[in-house]
Symmetry: C2
Subunit: 208 residues, 2 copies
Amino acid sequence: MITLYQSPTSIARALQIVLEDVGAEYISHRIDFTKSDQRSPEFLQINPKARVPALVTEQGILTETPAILVYLAQLFPQAGLIPLDDPFAFAKVQEFNAYIASTIHVAHAHRGRGYRWVEASDEAALAAMRNFVPTSVAAAFALVETDMLAGPFVMGDTYTICDPYLFTVAQWLELDGIDPASLPRVAAHRAMMLARPAVQRAIEKSLA
Amino acid sequence: MITLYQSPTSIARALQIVLEDVGAEYISHRIDFTKSDQRSPEFLQINPKARVPALVTEQGILTETPAILVYLAQLFPQAGLIPLDDPFAFAKVQEFNAYIASTIHVAHAHRGRGYRWVEASDEAALAAMRNFVPTSVAAAFALVETDMLAGPFVMGDTYTICDPYLFTVAQWLELDGIDPASLPRVAAHRAMMLARPAVQRAIEKSLA
């Protein structure tokens, strides 16, 4: 049995969607950030980084969203969520996911997690970061809009692990001060994803 | 033929080491950041993100270091640089690499690339970021030191794509204000890597 440690609206949502996509049996364990559950001794045993997601498998614990996305795609190969026999096509999926992790998600994190990169008491620097998020996140999404999102799915006609990952970060657009209408292709992808039953199930279960 | 667009001491070094590890035939194309080569129209055609690495293959162009590391490991399976038949072990390699990309490399980038996350004219915020790098990078490496680096190689007895990646970011420790003696296991790994002929060849070719 697999257990996903997640928090609703966090990046762990991408994994919960994939678990629903493949029809996996799994336990959804909600971590409540308002109660600092992620810093509890119990959770730090699971993930010393004090973050979600963490995936507890029979072989051990995995963290880091791009790694777990590929793990699930490999564990459920019949779902066809990553091209397994074509290293270049596999790498294109990974390239997209790495951009989300290291550019989009990192830009977004400067809104609420600036203390990772400046003294937590430096209110001016934290505000400078927060105020720049609409600019940096918009620039990061602009490249998705113009160059990276083939349409209708990220990789074109085939649904892959890139799609729930993009959907998850695109849910943060309004929070980051960006009008989705400025990114019509990203917005259309988000609406298409939201209509999928697996996405609805993932959202519902994440709130339980 | 493969062409690696790289800059010496940049993160592209990890890929150049792997190319030497596997004995690939490739062209090393140096991008000179002091001349803003990365913003030339020619290079922006290759990588609109204006960064290295970029890998030009016969199938197309790849960017993002964690994606290219796995691509090379899959393209040269005889080198055994990632476990190809064990999704969990594969994911542990990817988990480590994702941590380097999204945590260590990002923390480091706040020293010289703070303009990605605040207004470029905000000298106080840029300085606040720069001044915090010794703290944030040290904290990120502390987890590698205590939890993640199995030894002698990252994954234990087997050399993988994690090793050149860790080596490359560990070369920045002094620049980031960190005494390598405070991270004895990371420092020992770095010294071991530096002594490898493939690493020496990669460094030499990157400077050509």
